[in-house]
Amino acid sequence: MNDSSELEQKIGDVINRVLADSGRSPKALAAGDTLTGDVGLDSLDLAVMVVGLEQALGVDPFRQGARAVQTFGELVELYRNTLNGSSS
């Protein structure tokens, strides 16, 4: 689970599922991509994404007080830290 590329892949899959559910094409995500700008998620998409990530990864850092992040890379980092914290 802590393997970086595996985590990135899982988070990317959830984001692409959110895009697909509303008829948008999947994207190859880069660390610097902004979630709302480059990826094109609106605030409700982000909520659906967080629910999807909670189901996929078993954690929700925002429930634990985390603030919003801007980029895909920051999102992956946030979940990595949360997973590392919850398993330690």
Binding site: D21, L44, A47, V48, V51, R63
Partner: protein
């Protein structure tokens, strides 16, 4: 069609009547309250598998989260939420006990927001949902001795309208029902003078009953109300006219 419905405070009063009717209609109903009542025990036996009850303190956000999560895991979806749990502690504001104010804000308003948050997450992910907030005519017209209660119920009106705007595009409807004074445990505290004053001001000449409100809940849960969202439906025998 059978729906999976969460209702707060379904062990007595209006909540009990809503639970009973929705079970008779064939829905799955999950409810909680601070204390278990004989109604809960009887219903658990009569509707085993379609009725789920937990003793939950509505001021405990973590417990509310777990209740919603467990309901979703149990039935695979949450089609509707009915925010019904409330307390009314009367007395003039000038002499109000601060703990009483906190309790009313926590149970009547914050718990409704937390349940709205948790259920809307599920509803967004599943692509549909329906939220009904039980407010009160007092939110719209005021009532001497119930200032804090009125404030919490008026908060629910703002919550209803804003959630309707926020979630409408995702196939989630949010409406409110504002009953007048009902013949429930909550109105037992009325003095005879207050009681006759309310009846005198009500064109239909009586206090409301739970049965007057339940059909509006059924309507808002039904496809017939599919184009209604952000509305506050007053059911008060015309008292507010």
């Amino acid at each position: 069609m059978s729906q999976s419905i969460i209702i707060s405070g379904g062990s007595r009063g209006l909540g009990q009547a809503v639970v009973q009717t929705l079970l008779e209609d064939g829905h799955r109903v999950a409810t909680f309250s601070r204390s278990r009542t004989p109604f809960v025990d009887e219903t658990a036996t009569a509707y085993e598998g379609r009725f789920w009850y937990q003793q939950v303190d509505a001021t405990d956000s973590q417990a509310l989260y777990e209740f919603v999560r467990d309901t979703n895991e149990r039935w695979g979806q949450v089609d509707a939420l009915i925010n019904n749990a409330a307390v009314a502690i009367d007395g003039v504001l000038a002499l109000a006990n601060e703990d009483d104010l906190d309790q009313m804000l926590a149970i009547n308003l914050k718990a409704a927001l937390i349940l709205g948050k948790e259920c809307s997450r599920i509803m967004l992910a599943q692509g549909h949902g329906n939220i009904i907030n039980i407010t009160s005519i007092i939110a719209l017209r005021g009532f001497s001795g119930l200032v804090a209660y009125a404030a919490t119920k008026a908060g629910m009106v703002g919550m209803t309208q804003s959630m309707a705007r926020e979630l409408g595009g995702r196939n989630i409807r949010v409406n409110a029902i504002a009953p007048g004074y009902l013949e429930t445990d909550m109105s037992e505290a009325l003095s005879e003078h207050q009681r006759s004053q309310i009846i005198r001001r009500t064109p239909l000449g009586r206090l409301g009953k739970s049965e007057d409100v339940v059909p509006w809940v059924q309507f808002l849960l039904s496809p017939e109300s599919a184009f209604a969202t952000g509305q506050v439906i007053t059911v008060d025998g015309g008292a507010s006219v």
